[in-house]
Amino acid sequence: MLELKQIYKTFNRGTVNEKRAIDGLNLTLEEGDFVTVIGGNGAGKSTILNLIAGVFPVDAGSIRLNGTDVTNLPEHKRAKYLGRVFQDPMMGTAATMGIEENLALAYRRGKSRGLRKGISNDERKLYKEKLSILGLGLEDRMTSKVGLLSGGQRQALTLLMATLQKPDLLLLDEHTAALDPKTTDKVLQITENIVARDHLTTLMVTHNMKNAIQYGNRLIMMDAGRVVVDIRGEEKKNLTVRDLLDKFHLESDRMLLSE
Protein backbone atom coordinates (compact mmCIF):
# COMPACT_ATOMS: atom_id res chain seq x y z
CA MET A 1 0.00 0.00 0.00
CA LEU A 2 2.42 2.64 1.28
CA GLU A 3 6.10 1.86 1.03
CA LEU A 4 8.72 4.22 2.44
CA LYS A 5 12.27 3.13 1.75
CA GLN A 6 15.41 4.66 3.24
CA ILE A 7 13.93 8.15 3.58
CA TYR A 8 16.28 10.95 4.56
CA LYS A 9 15.44 14.59 5.15
CA THR A 10 17.60 17.33 6.62
CA PHE A 11 16.41 20.89 7.17
CA ASN A 12 18.63 23.98 6.99
CA ARG A 13 21.54 21.95 5.68
CA GLY A 14 24.88 23.65 6.13
CA THR A 15 23.68 26.14 8.75
CA VAL A 16 23.93 26.16 12.53
CA ASN A 17 20.26 25.17 12.56
CA GLU A 18 20.90 22.02 10.56
CA LYS A 19 18.44 19.36 11.67
CA ARG A 20 18.25 15.81 10.45
CA ALA A 21 14.51 15.30 10.67
CA ILE A 22 14.22 11.89 9.02
CA ASP A 23 17.10 9.48 9.24
CA GLY A 24 16.86 6.46 6.98
CA LEU A 25 13.24 5.69 7.77
CA ASN A 26 11.58 2.53 6.45
CA LEU A 27 7.88 1.89 6.79
CA THR A 28 5.36 -0.29 4.97
CA LEU A 29 1.61 -0.02 5.45
CA GLU A 30 -0.78 -2.79 4.46
CA GLU A 31 -4.12 -2.14 2.83
CA GLY A 32 -6.61 -1.19 5.54
CA ASP A 33 -4.00 -0.49 8.22
CA PHE A 34 -4.99 2.20 10.72
CA VAL A 35 -1.64 3.24 12.14
CA THR A 36 -1.24 5.69 15.00
CA VAL A 37 2.08 7.52 15.21
CA ILE A 38 3.51 8.86 18.46
CA GLY A 39 6.81 10.38 19.42
CA GLY A 40 8.31 13.41 21.14
CA ASN A 41 8.64 16.87 19.67
CA GLY A 42 11.03 16.85 16.73
CA ALA A 43 10.82 13.08 16.31
CA GLY A 44 9.81 13.59 12.68
CA LYS A 45 6.13 12.64 12.84
CA SER A 46 4.75 15.62 10.97
CA THR A 47 7.76 15.69 8.67
CA ILE A 48 7.10 12.17 7.45
CA LEU A 49 3.46 13.03 6.73
CA ASN A 50 4.56 16.12 4.82
CA LEU A 51 7.08 14.08 2.85
CA ILE A 52 4.39 11.57 1.91
CA ALA A 53 2.11 14.44 0.86
CA GLY A 54 4.90 16.13 -1.11
CA VAL A 55 4.88 19.42 0.81
CA PHE A 56 8.67 19.26 0.45
CA PRO A 57 10.87 16.72 -1.37
CA VAL A 58 12.90 13.93 0.23
CA ASP A 59 16.70 14.19 0.22
CA ALA A 60 16.97 10.48 -0.52
CA GLY A 61 14.77 7.41 -0.57
CA SER A 62 11.58 6.44 -2.33
CA ILE A 63 7.88 6.71 -1.64
CA ARG A 64 5.49 4.28 -3.31
CA LEU A 65 1.74 4.43 -3.04
CA ASN A 66 -0.30 1.48 -4.33
CA GLY A 67 2.66 0.47 -6.45
CA THR A 68 3.09 3.94 -8.00
CA ASP A 69 6.35 5.76 -7.35
CA VAL A 70 5.28 9.23 -6.18
CA THR A 71 8.68 10.37 -4.90
CA ASN A 72 9.04 13.08 -7.51
CA LEU A 73 5.39 13.98 -7.98
CA PRO A 74 4.43 17.56 -6.98
CA GLU A 75 2.05 18.02 -4.06
CA HIS A 76 -1.06 18.79 -6.10
CA LYS A 77 -0.61 15.66 -8.22
CA ARG A 78 -0.15 13.40 -5.23
CA ALA A 79 -3.36 14.80 -3.80
CA LYS A 80 -5.17 12.35 -6.09
CA TYR A 81 -4.14 9.51 -3.78
CA LEU A 82 -4.29 11.29 -0.45
CA GLY A 83 -6.79 12.67 2.01
CA ARG A 84 -5.30 15.09 4.50
CA VAL A 85 -6.38 16.74 7.74
CA PHE A 86 -4.04 19.20 9.41
CA GLN A 87 -3.30 20.21 12.98
CA ASP A 88 -4.46 23.78 12.41
CA PRO A 89 -8.23 23.87 11.81
CA MET A 90 -7.67 26.96 9.60
CA MET A 91 -5.47 25.04 7.20
CA GLY A 92 -7.81 22.44 5.76
CA THR A 93 -10.65 24.64 4.58
CA ALA A 94 -11.14 27.91 2.70
CA ALA A 95 -12.64 30.25 5.31
CA THR A 96 -14.09 32.76 2.85
CA MET A 97 -15.94 30.10 0.87
CA GLY A 98 -19.16 28.30 1.76
CA ILE A 99 -19.41 24.81 3.26
CA GLU A 100 -20.81 23.37 0.03
CA GLU A 101 -18.17 25.17 -2.04
CA ASN A 102 -15.43 23.63 0.09
CA LEU A 103 -16.98 20.20 -0.34
CA ALA A 104 -17.27 20.76 -4.10
CA LEU A 105 -13.55 21.58 -4.23
CA ALA A 106 -12.80 18.34 -2.40
CA TYR A 107 -15.21 16.37 -4.55
CA ARG A 108 -13.05 17.22 -7.58
CA ARG A 109 -9.78 16.09 -6.00
CA GLY A 110 -7.88 14.09 -8.58
CA LYS A 111 -10.27 15.10 -11.37
CA SER A 112 -9.89 17.77 -14.01
CA ARG A 113 -11.46 21.12 -13.23
CA GLY A 114 -12.97 22.56 -16.37
CA LEU A 115 -15.67 25.01 -17.29
CA ARG A 116 -18.56 22.95 -16.02
CA LYS A 117 -20.51 24.21 -13.05
CA GLY A 118 -18.46 24.32 -9.86
CA ILE A 119 -21.28 22.63 -7.95
CA SER A 120 -24.34 20.77 -9.22
CA ASN A 121 -27.70 20.16 -7.57
CA ASP A 122 -27.11 16.41 -7.40
CA GLU A 123 -23.90 17.08 -5.54
CA ARG A 124 -25.74 19.30 -3.08
CA LYS A 125 -27.97 16.36 -2.14
CA LEU A 126 -24.92 14.16 -1.62
CA TYR A 127 -23.21 16.79 0.54
CA LYS A 128 -26.32 17.28 2.64
CA GLU A 129 -26.49 13.57 3.28
CA LYS A 130 -22.79 13.31 4.13
CA LEU A 131 -22.95 16.35 6.42
CA SER A 132 -25.94 14.98 8.32
CA ILE A 133 -23.89 11.86 9.16
CA LEU A 134 -21.48 14.11 11.08
CA GLY A 135 -24.33 15.03 13.41
CA LEU A 136 -23.23 18.65 13.77
CA GLY A 137 -26.18 20.30 12.07
CA LEU A 138 -23.98 21.53 9.24
CA GLU A 139 -26.41 20.14 6.65
CA ASP A 140 -28.68 23.12 7.36
CA ARG A 141 -25.88 25.65 6.85
CA MET A 142 -24.59 24.53 3.46
CA THR A 143 -24.02 28.06 2.15
CA SER A 144 -22.52 29.46 5.37
CA LYS A 145 -18.94 30.59 5.14
CA VAL A 146 -16.58 28.08 6.73
CA GLY A 147 -14.94 30.92 8.65
CA LEU A 148 -18.03 31.01 10.87
CA LEU A 149 -17.55 27.41 12.07
CA SER A 150 -15.82 26.36 15.30
CA GLY A 151 -12.48 24.54 15.23
CA GLY A 152 -14.13 21.18 15.84
CA GLN A 153 -16.69 21.73 13.12
CA ARG A 154 -13.95 22.74 10.72
CA GLN A 155 -11.92 19.62 11.51
CA ALA A 156 -14.97 17.42 11.01
CA LEU A 157 -15.64 19.16 7.71
CA THR A 158 -12.00 18.76 6.64
CA LEU A 159 -12.23 15.08 7.50
CA LEU A 160 -15.32 14.78 5.33
CA MET A 161 -13.53 16.65 2.53
CA ALA A 162 -10.50 14.36 2.81
CA THR A 163 -12.65 11.27 2.41
CA LEU A 164 -15.33 12.53 -0.01
CA GLN A 165 -13.32 10.94 -2.81
CA LYS A 166 -12.01 7.76 -1.26
CA PRO A 167 -8.28 8.33 -0.71
CA ASP A 168 -5.73 5.51 -1.02
CA LEU A 169 -4.20 6.86 2.16
CA LEU A 170 -5.61 9.16 4.83
CA LEU A 171 -3.07 11.38 6.58
CA LEU A 172 -4.13 12.86 9.92
CA ASP A 173 -1.53 15.24 11.31
CA GLU A 174 -2.48 15.75 14.98
CA HIS A 175 -5.88 16.78 13.75
CA THR A 176 -7.33 17.06 17.24
CA ALA A 177 -4.40 18.87 18.87
CA ALA A 178 -6.14 22.26 18.74
CA LEU A 179 -9.47 21.02 20.12
CA ASP A 180 -10.87 20.76 23.64
CA PRO A 181 -11.17 17.21 25.13
CA LYS A 182 -14.88 16.85 24.42
CA THR A 183 -14.55 17.98 20.81
CA THR A 184 -11.47 15.79 20.44
CA ASP A 185 -13.51 12.73 21.36
CA LYS A 186 -16.24 13.70 18.94
CA VAL A 187 -13.83 14.26 16.04
CA LEU A 188 -11.96 11.03 16.80
CA GLN A 189 -15.26 9.17 16.90
CA ILE A 190 -16.16 10.57 13.47
CA THR A 191 -12.67 9.65 12.27
CA GLU A 192 -13.03 6.07 13.42
CA ASN A 193 -16.49 5.75 11.87
CA ILE A 194 -15.37 7.02 8.49
CA VAL A 195 -12.17 4.94 8.48
CA ALA A 196 -14.09 1.79 9.38
CA ARG A 197 -16.93 2.44 6.94
CA ASP A 198 -14.67 3.09 3.94
CA HIS A 199 -11.86 0.69 5.00
CA LEU A 200 -9.34 3.50 4.70
CA THR A 201 -5.63 2.98 5.10
CA THR A 202 -4.78 5.64 7.67
CA LEU A 203 -1.74 7.24 9.25
CA MET A 204 -2.68 9.26 12.33
CA VAL A 205 -0.14 11.34 14.22
CA THR A 206 -1.08 12.12 17.80
CA HIS A 207 0.47 13.41 21.01
CA ASN A 208 -2.03 11.57 23.12
CA MET A 209 -0.84 8.08 24.08
CA LYS A 210 -4.31 7.04 25.20
CA ASN A 211 -5.73 7.87 21.80
CA ALA A 212 -2.83 6.18 20.08
CA ILE A 213 -3.65 2.98 21.95
CA GLN A 214 -7.42 3.26 21.69
CA TYR A 215 -7.56 3.77 17.92
CA GLY A 216 -6.13 1.79 15.05
CA ASN A 217 -4.68 -1.71 14.62
CA ARG A 218 -1.05 -0.73 14.69
CA LEU A 219 1.07 1.77 16.60
CA ILE A 220 4.49 3.12 15.74
CA MET A 221 6.73 5.28 17.86
CA MET A 222 9.22 7.59 16.22
CA ASP A 223 12.38 9.05 17.60
CA ALA A 224 15.11 11.08 15.91
CA GLY A 225 13.66 10.47 12.47
CA ARG A 226 13.22 6.71 12.69
CA VAL A 227 10.61 4.17 13.66
CA VAL A 228 11.77 2.77 17.01
CA VAL A 229 8.69 0.83 18.11
CA ASP A 230 6.18 -0.98 15.91
CA ILE A 231 3.34 -2.78 17.65
CA ARG A 232 0.38 -4.47 15.99
CA GLY A 233 -2.35 -7.06 16.35
CA GLU A 234 -2.96 -8.65 19.74
CA GLU A 235 -0.02 -6.92 21.35
CA LYS A 236 -1.46 -3.55 20.34
CA LYS A 237 -4.86 -4.47 21.79
CA ASN A 238 -3.36 -5.28 25.19
CA LEU A 239 -1.11 -2.25 25.28
CA THR A 240 -1.36 0.19 28.20
CA VAL A 241 -0.11 3.74 28.53
CA ARG A 242 2.29 2.40 31.16
CA ASP A 243 3.87 -0.06 28.65
CA LEU A 244 4.14 2.69 26.15
CA LEU A 245 5.82 5.08 28.56
CA ASP A 246 8.30 2.36 29.51
CA LYS A 247 9.13 1.76 25.87
CA PHE A 248 9.35 5.49 25.29
CA HIS A 249 11.86 5.97 28.10
CA LEU A 250 13.80 2.90 27.11
CA GLU A 251 14.10 4.20 23.59
CA SER A 252 15.06 7.70 24.58
CA ASP A 253 17.65 6.36 27.02
CA ARG A 254 19.04 4.14 24.28
CA MET A 255 19.23 7.08 21.96
CA LEU A 256 21.02 9.14 24.58
CA LEU A 257 23.55 6.38 25.23
CA SER A 258 24.24 5.84 21.58
CA GLU A 259 25.04 9.49 21.05
Partner: protein, 313 residues
Protein backbone atom coordinates in the same frame (compact mmCIF):
# COMPACT_ATOMS: atom_id res chain seq x y z
CA UNK B 1 -24.35 78.18 -7.98
CA UNK B 2 -21.60 78.52 -10.49
CA UNK B 3 -19.84 75.62 -8.79
CA UNK B 4 -22.92 73.44 -9.09
CA UNK B 5 -23.50 74.12 -12.77
CA UNK B 6 -19.82 73.58 -13.53
CA UNK B 7 -19.96 70.32 -11.61
CA UNK B 8 -23.14 69.20 -13.34
CA UNK B 9 -21.71 69.79 -16.76
CA UNK B 10 -18.57 67.86 -15.83
CA UNK B 11 -20.42 64.99 -14.21
CA UNK B 12 -21.20 62.88 -17.34
CA UNK B 13 -17.49 62.86 -18.19
CA UNK B 14 -16.61 61.75 -14.68
CA UNK B 15 -19.17 58.94 -14.80
CA UNK B 16 -17.96 57.69 -18.21
CA UNK B 17 -14.35 57.79 -17.07
CA UNK B 18 -15.32 56.06 -13.84
CA UNK B 19 -17.10 53.24 -15.65
CA UNK B 20 -14.15 52.59 -17.96
CA UNK B 21 -11.75 52.61 -15.01
CA UNK B 22 -14.25 50.39 -13.24
CA UNK B 23 -13.41 47.63 -15.74
CA UNK B 24 -9.75 48.14 -14.88
CA UNK B 25 -10.59 48.02 -11.17
CA UNK B 26 -12.45 44.72 -11.65
CA UNK B 27 -9.16 43.39 -13.03
CA UNK B 28 -7.38 44.64 -9.92
CA UNK B 29 -10.09 43.02 -7.76
CA UNK B 30 -9.29 39.62 -9.28
CA UNK B 31 -5.67 39.75 -8.22
CA UNK B 32 -5.94 41.81 -5.03
CA UNK B 33 -9.08 40.25 -3.55
CA UNK B 34 -9.68 36.90 -5.26
CA UNK B 35 -6.06 35.74 -5.61
CA UNK B 36 -4.71 37.75 -2.67
CA UNK B 37 -1.79 39.02 -4.78
CA UNK B 38 -0.68 42.63 -5.10
CA UNK B 39 -0.05 42.90 -8.84
CA UNK B 40 1.69 46.06 -10.06
CA UNK B 41 1.84 44.90 -13.68
CA UNK B 42 -1.31 46.93 -14.29
CA UNK B 43 0.61 50.22 -14.35
CA UNK B 44 2.15 48.88 -17.55
CA UNK B 45 -0.85 47.10 -19.04
CA UNK B 46 -3.01 50.20 -18.55
CA UNK B 47 -0.82 51.76 -21.29
CA UNK B 48 -0.25 48.60 -23.34
CA UNK B 49 -3.91 47.92 -24.12
CA UNK B 50 -4.45 51.42 -25.49
CA UNK B 51 -1.19 51.37 -27.45
CA UNK B 52 -2.10 48.08 -29.13
CA UNK B 53 -5.64 49.23 -29.86
CA UNK B 54 -4.76 52.65 -31.29
CA UNK B 55 -1.86 51.36 -33.39
CA UNK B 56 -4.00 48.58 -34.86
CA UNK B 57 -6.92 50.90 -35.54
CA UNK B 58 -4.82 53.56 -37.22
CA UNK B 59 -3.53 50.74 -39.42
CA UNK B 60 -7.06 49.94 -40.50
CA UNK B 61 -7.93 47.08 -38.18
CA UNK B 62 -11.55 46.71 -37.05
CA UNK B 63 -12.23 48.14 -33.59
CA UNK B 64 -13.45 44.82 -32.15
CA UNK B 65 -10.40 42.98 -33.43
CA UNK B 66 -8.24 45.73 -31.97
CA UNK B 67 -9.99 45.34 -28.61
CA UNK B 68 -9.48 41.59 -28.69
CA UNK B 69 -5.78 42.07 -29.46
CA UNK B 70 -5.46 44.56 -26.59
CA UNK B 71 -7.04 41.98 -24.29
CA UNK B 72 -4.60 39.29 -25.49
CA UNK B 73 -1.64 41.66 -25.06
CA UNK B 74 -2.75 42.26 -21.47
CA UNK B 75 -3.05 38.52 -20.89
CA UNK B 76 0.47 38.05 -22.21
CA UNK B 77 1.78 40.66 -19.75
CA UNK B 78 -0.07 38.87 -16.95
CA UNK B 79 1.42 35.58 -18.11
CA UNK B 80 4.94 37.03 -17.86
CA UNK B 81 4.32 38.29 -14.31
CA UNK B 82 2.81 34.91 -13.45
CA UNK B 83 5.84 33.03 -14.73
CA UNK B 84 8.22 35.39 -12.92
CA UNK B 85 6.26 34.83 -9.73
CA UNK B 86 5.59 31.07 -9.86
CA UNK B 87 8.24 29.47 -12.04
CA UNK B 88 11.04 31.84 -11.02
CA UNK B 89 9.94 32.29 -7.41
CA UNK B 90 10.02 36.09 -7.41
CA UNK B 91 7.66 37.73 -4.88
CA UNK B 92 4.46 38.88 -6.61
CA UNK B 93 5.00 42.59 -6.02
CA UNK B 94 8.51 42.49 -7.47
CA UNK B 95 7.43 40.32 -10.38
CA UNK B 96 4.77 42.91 -11.21
CA UNK B 97 7.22 45.78 -10.95
CA UNK B 98 9.65 44.01 -13.29
CA UNK B 99 6.99 43.39 -15.92
CA UNK B 100 5.72 46.93 -15.56
CA UNK B 101 9.21 48.30 -16.10
CA UNK B 102 9.75 46.11 -19.14
CA UNK B 103 6.37 47.11 -20.53
CA UNK B 104 7.44 50.77 -20.69
CA UNK B 105 9.97 49.88 -23.38
CA UNK B 106 7.56 47.49 -25.06
CA UNK B 107 4.81 50.12 -25.11
CA UNK B 108 7.20 52.56 -26.81
CA UNK B 109 8.04 49.86 -29.37
CA UNK B 110 4.35 49.23 -30.01
CA UNK B 111 3.82 52.96 -30.55
CA UNK B 112 6.85 53.20 -32.80
CA UNK B 113 8.88 55.19 -30.23
CA UNK B 114 6.23 57.90 -29.89
CA UNK B 115 5.24 58.96 -26.39
CA UNK B 116 1.67 59.42 -27.54
CA UNK B 117 -0.49 58.71 -30.54
CA UNK B 118 -3.76 60.39 -31.44
CA UNK B 119 -6.77 58.83 -33.09
CA UNK B 120 -9.30 61.11 -34.77
CA UNK B 121 -12.90 60.19 -33.93
CA UNK B 122 -13.95 61.68 -37.31
CA UNK B 123 -11.94 59.15 -39.28
CA UNK B 124 -12.36 56.07 -37.15
CA UNK B 125 -15.27 54.09 -35.81
CA UNK B 126 -14.64 54.47 -32.08
CA UNK B 127 -16.76 52.59 -29.57
CA UNK B 128 -16.51 55.30 -26.98
CA UNK B 129 -15.63 58.93 -27.43
CA UNK B 130 -15.38 61.92 -25.17
CA UNK B 131 -17.37 64.09 -27.55
CA UNK B 132 -20.52 61.95 -27.24
CA UNK B 133 -20.54 62.15 -23.48
CA UNK B 134 -23.57 64.46 -23.36
CA UNK B 135 -25.33 62.95 -26.37
CA UNK B 136 -28.57 61.15 -25.67
CA UNK B 137 -27.86 58.32 -28.10
CA UNK B 138 -26.65 54.75 -27.92
CA UNK B 139 -23.20 56.09 -28.76
CA UNK B 140 -22.94 57.80 -25.41
CA UNK B 141 -19.81 56.40 -23.75
CA UNK B 142 -21.65 56.06 -20.42
CA UNK B 143 -24.10 53.67 -22.06
CA UNK B 144 -21.41 51.73 -23.93
CA UNK B 145 -19.17 51.47 -20.88
CA UNK B 146 -22.13 50.35 -18.75
CA UNK B 147 -22.89 47.58 -21.26
CA UNK B 148 -19.25 46.49 -21.18
CA UNK B 149 -19.34 46.47 -17.38
CA UNK B 150 -22.47 44.32 -17.27
CA UNK B 151 -21.15 41.85 -19.85
CA UNK B 152 -17.77 41.57 -18.10
CA UNK B 153 -19.40 41.06 -14.69
CA UNK B 154 -21.75 38.42 -16.14
CA UNK B 155 -18.85 36.55 -17.77
CA UNK B 156 -16.72 36.67 -14.63
CA UNK B 157 -19.67 35.59 -12.48
CA UNK B 158 -20.13 32.59 -14.72
CA UNK B 159 -16.40 31.81 -14.87
CA UNK B 160 -15.79 32.00 -11.12
CA UNK B 161 -18.73 29.66 -10.62
CA UNK B 162 -17.19 26.92 -12.77
CA UNK B 163 -15.01 24.19 -11.31
CA UNK B 164 -11.93 25.96 -12.66
CA UNK B 165 -13.07 29.37 -11.40
CA UNK B 166 -13.83 27.93 -7.95
CA UNK B 167 -10.35 26.44 -7.82
CA UNK B 168 -8.90 29.90 -8.56
CA UNK B 169 -10.90 31.39 -5.71
CA UNK B 170 -9.72 28.57 -3.44
CA UNK B 171 -6.12 29.28 -4.48
CA UNK B 172 -6.47 32.81 -3.17
CA UNK B 173 -8.43 31.80 -0.08
CA UNK B 174 -6.14 28.99 1.12
CA UNK B 175 -3.24 27.74 -1.02
CA UNK B 176 -2.38 24.94 1.43
CA UNK B 177 -5.86 23.52 1.31
CA UNK B 178 -5.93 23.97 -2.46
CA UNK B 179 -2.79 21.91 -2.98
CA UNK B 180 -4.14 19.24 -0.63
CA UNK B 181 -7.23 19.08 -2.82
CA UNK B 182 -5.13 18.60 -5.94
CA UNK B 183 -5.33 22.15 -7.26
CA UNK B 184 -2.36 23.39 -9.28
CA UNK B 185 -1.88 26.61 -7.35
CA UNK B 186 0.84 28.00 -9.61
CA UNK B 187 -1.13 27.46 -12.78
CA UNK B 188 -4.15 29.15 -11.20
CA UNK B 189 -2.13 32.17 -10.14
CA UNK B 190 -0.84 32.59 -13.69
CA UNK B 191 -4.36 32.20 -15.03
CA UNK B 192 -5.74 34.77 -12.62
CA UNK B 193 -3.00 37.25 -13.48
CA UNK B 194 -3.72 36.73 -17.17
CA UNK B 195 -7.46 37.37 -16.81
CA UNK B 196 -6.81 40.38 -14.60
CA UNK B 197 -4.32 42.02 -16.93
CA UNK B 198 -6.43 41.17 -19.97
CA UNK B 199 -9.27 43.15 -18.41
CA UNK B 200 -6.98 46.04 -17.53
CA UNK B 201 -5.71 46.17 -21.11
CA UNK B 202 -9.29 46.09 -22.37
CA UNK B 203 -10.13 49.05 -20.12
CA UNK B 204 -7.00 50.76 -21.39
CA UNK B 205 -8.08 50.24 -25.01
CA UNK B 206 -11.49 51.75 -24.27
CA UNK B 207 -9.98 54.63 -22.33
CA UNK B 208 -7.64 55.57 -25.18
CA UNK B 209 -10.57 55.61 -27.59
CA UNK B 210 -12.51 57.72 -25.13
CA UNK B 211 -9.72 60.25 -24.82
CA UNK B 212 -8.73 60.05 -28.48
CA UNK B 213 -5.11 59.18 -27.87
CA UNK B 214 -2.78 56.54 -26.45
CA UNK B 215 -0.07 57.65 -24.06
CA UNK B 216 2.95 55.74 -22.84
CA UNK B 217 2.41 57.33 -19.42
CA UNK B 218 -1.26 56.35 -19.27
CA UNK B 219 -0.68 53.68 -16.67
CA UNK B 220 1.23 55.71 -14.12
CA UNK B 221 -0.49 55.29 -10.78
CA UNK B 222 -3.18 53.07 -12.29
CA UNK B 223 -2.88 50.51 -9.49
CA UNK B 224 -3.71 53.19 -6.93
CA UNK B 225 -6.87 54.20 -8.79
CA UNK B 226 -7.81 50.53 -9.18
CA UNK B 227 -7.25 49.90 -5.47
CA UNK B 228 -9.19 53.05 -4.64
CA UNK B 229 -12.17 51.72 -6.57
CA UNK B 230 -11.92 48.29 -4.95
CA UNK B 231 -11.68 49.73 -1.46
CA UNK B 232 -14.31 52.46 -1.88
CA UNK B 233 -16.67 49.83 -3.26
CA UNK B 234 -15.95 47.53 -0.36
CA UNK B 235 -16.26 50.14 2.36
CA UNK B 236 -19.53 51.49 1.00
CA UNK B 237 -21.30 48.37 -0.23
CA UNK B 238 -19.89 45.31 1.58
CA UNK B 239 -22.80 45.31 4.04
CA UNK B 240 -25.45 45.04 1.36
CA UNK B 241 -23.64 43.26 -1.51
CA UNK B 242 -22.68 39.65 -0.70
CA UNK B 243 -23.09 37.93 -4.04
CA UNK B 244 -19.93 37.76 -6.19
CA UNK B 245 -21.52 39.60 -9.12
CA UNK B 246 -22.67 42.37 -6.80
CA UNK B 247 -19.19 42.61 -5.31
CA UNK B 248 -17.81 43.18 -8.81
CA UNK B 249 -20.54 45.75 -9.36
CA UNK B 250 -19.52 47.54 -6.17
CA UNK B 251 -15.97 47.79 -7.58
CA UNK B 252 -17.32 49.43 -10.76
CA UNK B 253 -19.44 51.79 -8.65
CA UNK B 254 -16.39 52.49 -6.50
CA UNK B 255 -14.53 53.69 -9.59
CA UNK B 256 -17.42 55.95 -10.58
CA UNK B 257 -17.59 57.41 -7.07
CA UNK B 258 -13.85 57.96 -7.12
CA UNK B 259 -14.03 59.96 -10.36
CA UNK B 260 -17.04 61.95 -9.16
CA UNK B 261 -15.19 62.84 -5.96
CA UNK B 262 -12.12 63.85 -7.96
CA UNK B 263 -14.35 65.96 -10.22
CA UNK B 264 -15.86 67.72 -7.21
CA UNK B 265 -12.41 68.47 -5.84
CA UNK B 266 -11.22 69.78 -9.20
CA UNK B 267 -14.32 71.88 -9.74
CA UNK B 268 -13.80 73.33 -6.29
CA UNK B 269 -10.61 74.82 -7.67
CA UNK B 270 -7.81 72.41 -6.99
CA UNK B 271 -4.98 72.17 -9.47
CA UNK B 272 -4.86 69.15 -11.83
CA UNK B 273 -1.21 68.75 -10.87
CA UNK B 274 -2.36 67.95 -7.34
CA UNK B 275 -4.47 65.05 -8.60
CA UNK B 276 -2.01 62.29 -7.70
CA UNK B 277 -1.61 63.73 -4.22
CA UNK B 278 -5.37 63.85 -3.77
CA UNK B 279 -5.68 60.29 -5.06
CA UNK B 280 -3.09 59.05 -2.61
CA UNK B 281 -4.86 60.83 0.27
CA UNK B 282 -8.28 59.48 -0.74
CA UNK B 283 -6.95 55.90 -1.01
CA UNK B 284 -5.05 56.17 2.27
CA UNK B 285 -8.20 57.33 4.07
CA UNK B 286 -10.38 54.59 2.59
CA UNK B 287 -7.72 51.98 3.41
CA UNK B 288 -7.60 53.22 6.99
CA UNK B 289 -11.37 53.33 7.48
CA UNK B 290 -11.92 49.61 8.17
CA UNK B 291 -8.94 49.62 10.55
CA UNK B 292 -10.12 52.69 12.43
CA UNK B 293 -13.61 51.31 12.58
CA UNK B 294 -12.47 48.11 14.25
CA UNK B 295 -10.08 49.89 16.57
CA UNK B 296 -11.87 53.03 17.73
CA UNK B 297 -15.54 52.57 16.91
CA UNK B 298 -16.31 49.12 18.23
CA UNK B 299 -20.01 48.68 18.83
CA UNK B 300 -20.59 48.86 22.55
CA UNK B 301 -21.62 45.45 23.81
CA UNK B 302 -24.93 45.48 25.57
CA UNK B 303 -24.78 43.63 28.88
CA UNK B 304 -28.06 41.78 29.49
CA UNK B 305 -30.12 43.24 32.32
CA UNK B 306 -29.27 41.80 35.71
CA UNK B 307 -25.87 40.64 34.52
CA UNK B 308 -23.98 43.88 34.86
CA UNK B 309 -20.40 43.27 35.73
CA UNK B 310 -19.37 45.24 38.76
CA UNK B 311 -15.70 46.06 38.83
CA UNK B 312 -13.86 44.74 41.85
CA UNK B 313 -13.23 47.32 44.47
Amino acid sequence: MEFLSALLSALPGAVAQGLIWGLMAIGVYITYKVLDLADLTVDGTMATGGAVCIVLMTNGVNVWVALACAFLAGMLAGFVTGVLHTFMGIPAILAGILTQLALYSINLRIMDSKANMAINPNNFDLLVSLRNVRAVTLENPIFVAAVFTIVVIALLYWFFGTALGCSIRATGANPNMSRAQGINVNRNKVLGLMISNGLVALASALYCQYQGFADVQAGRGAIVIGLAAVIIGEVLFSRIFHNFALKLLSVALGAVIYYVVIQIVLTAGLNTNDLKLITAVVVAIFLALPYWKSKYFRGKMKVPAGKEVTPHA
